[in-house]
Amino acid sequence: MGLDAELLARLQFTLTITYHFIFPPLSMGLGLMLLVISGMYLRTKDPKWRRLSFFWVKIYGIVFAMGVATGVVMEFEFGMNWADYSRFVGNVFGSLLAAEGVFAFFLEGGFLGLMLFGGTRLGPRMWFGASLMVVVGAHFSALWIVMANSWMQTPQGYQVQDLPLPTRAVMTDFWDVVFTPSFIPRILHVFFASWTAGAAFVASVGAYYVLKKKDFADLGRAALAIALPFFILFAVANAFVFGPESARNVAEFQPTKLAAMEGIWETQQNAPAYAFGWVDTDAGTTTGLAIPGLLSFLSGQDTVEGINSFDVPPDVPPSEVQLTFQSYHLMVGLGMAIVPFALMAAGLWFWKRKLLEYRWALWIVVSTVFVSLFVITMGWWVAEFGRQPWVVYGLMFTAVATSPVVSAEEIVVSLGGFVLIYVLLMALFLYLLNAKIQHGPAPLEELETKPVEDLPDTLRSIFTARGEGEERMVR
């Protein structure tokens, strides 16, 4: 049996990007919550916020390390498995990756040390500043990556040149490349989803402490009080504003993806949306609970084009209808399911703090971080599977994007390596995360080597104070 190098390369990309994309949303969302927590300390000077800052910054370090370790894989993988893609899009796509390095990674990488170790070296304001830089860097990184990916979804600002060979896309207008029609809706959707996951993470651990750890119940309540409102705000905004906006954008610019998302085979007016369903790709039918006219209503298109009607590129029949359909429905279903739970939690919370008495409700809060991350994964799958068979929509087929010299056997070796390493890493990550959470926030006395008042808290004092080593040498 011959192995299919293209399929293996796609499998490897699916694995590595899905795995990687757990961590950047947490870096953004948890980062934002860390800023909120240390911001609360700046405002109130209540030591519990400082204790929580030290706790979450440790977890941030583990999350960040996982993101870095799995992120560098992505940059290498374009060249390794997708050499013809890289040759074709290097002019356009490559520049955005390089810009990410210059504008985002140096900001993150430069200030990460200060964020992770700044707690005992910098005053609270300066520590907050360092953390802010890392979190801004994480957002810049997403900005450039979603920009690059949006160019793959709705390419513009390029011209295809044949000579000198090989054929490639050449940038004609940088700003057209930056602001492709799908970029702004998609980046907002990603930001809000990431913030939802971050707030869910903090709320989830807070709820767990209230449920299981008497020693940290107070800190858990504080974390819940701060994270729940943000969680509700972000989840509701995404479900009702940014999610639908993204879908409308797909309807306008990627009709084949829209048809795959809802399994619409024949062009029709008042197209239905399914609550759930199953696609039979051989027969070309979709069965399920259909709500008549809903898709036409949501997408703002009276007539929705069906899969069977696509025959002129860029609109060719989508090749991953089942995966796109199911990912989309899991994303929307679970994303919408968060909303009533969030509202219920809010109601119980503001209603004389009843939430803290209902253990089942707290367990639902604990589960939100897993649900949020799963929903994000499904969203990414919709974006990527829905675009198939294109790697760049309307411009380059995935089948011709692979590396001519890389054999299926080589991809099997690297794929096997990634599976082994990633399983090991996930086990270690969960083990460490669990150990951190079980151990709980350490008392400040165990962490601080100097009273917080003695730490330099202005740029001036940082750059005029003598370093510790120098002091010692003077002695």
């Binding site: 440790k58 583990i62 960040f64 390390a65 370790a69 799995t70 560098v72 940059e75 290498f76 060249g79 390794m80 013809d84 890289s86 040759r87 899009v89 290097g90 002019n91 356009v92 490559g94 520049s95 990756l97 390089a98 810009a99 990410e100 390095g101 210059v102 504008f103 990674f105 140096f106 900001l107 993150e108 990488g109 430069g110 990460l112 040390g113 200060l114 992770l116 170790f117 005992t120 040149q161 000198p164 050449v170 940038m171 590396s403 001519p404 010299v405 890389v406 080589e410 690297s414 390596g417 390493i421 460490l432 150990a435 962490l447 080597t449 750059f463 370093g467 510790e468 080593g469 010692r472």
Partner: protein, 339 residues
Amino acid sequence: MILNEIWFILFIVIVGGYLILDGFDMGVGILHLLLARNDTERRTLLNSIGPVWDGNEVWLILGGGVLFAVFPFAYASLFSGFYIAFMLVLVVLIFRAVTLEFRSQRPGSTWRSIWDVSFFLSSAVLALLLGVAFGAILNGVPLDARGEIEVNLFELLTPYALLIGVTTVAMLAMHGAIYLIMKTEGDIQARTKRWLPYLMGGFVALNTVGVIAAVALGLPFTDRYLEQIWPVIFPAAALVAMGAVWYFVQRARYFLAFAASSVMILMLLVAGGIGMHPNLLVSSIDQAYNLTIYNAASEDNTLTVALVIALIGMPFVLLYTIGVYYIFRGKVTVEPTSY
């Protein structure tokens, strides 16, 4: 055309920045098991690079991104051609990234010993692989008429490539030892000082063999040195810088020794780069198939955009890199919140 030249220079500067900065991280890792005798000393070594290593590794990511954007044909041919080698690079990069973060998270001695070995292996193998890749590129690669490199890992592992790999390990161990002497004190510093002369001697010997081998084998990058005299200033500058390293180490001026070591690394790279210019990859099949800074490059519009991005971004990068190094200056102190 001038844009292609500028980007060739900038690319060498970026790779140089990577080798100098992440180079001392690798060096510390290579020396980790050799020098540190107990948990406190091992933590001292880890924390000497703890706050800065991630920023240093960004230079590698930037190098990859720039190659992709500016010389996409070289990026695609190199990364798909050196497939298994780059897969191994990824494995060690992954392990090094998590090692630093994971080791301190648990107190157990078995847990920590495993990560100590992982830190050593990932650093040493990374240095070795990068050196081997440099060696293989200097050696010339079987680029064919399609611009593809079809080669297996063992064909890449020529004696010359392996020699450059080992030389790189020795060079970065020396570079890292000088850094450690700056950042540590007491027993660990004294031990590093005892080892430094051997590391310097080992590196100089290996590098000398490497130069002789390159000339004897008639490697493509030596041609320019046989035709023209002026490029000799770069290897000469590397030699002078190495002399300066020795001079400053004798006088215990370790910061200056580190600066000299950094200059030496950059000059060695430039010496190789001048020899290669204008080629990025030299074909061992037919020189007509070479990938150069012209035929492998993006169009001028992209090169201009990328240059503007670099000109806007890099001053900030330098500013806060210097700022962060300044804040973490002085000897390493191990605190409860450290690695």
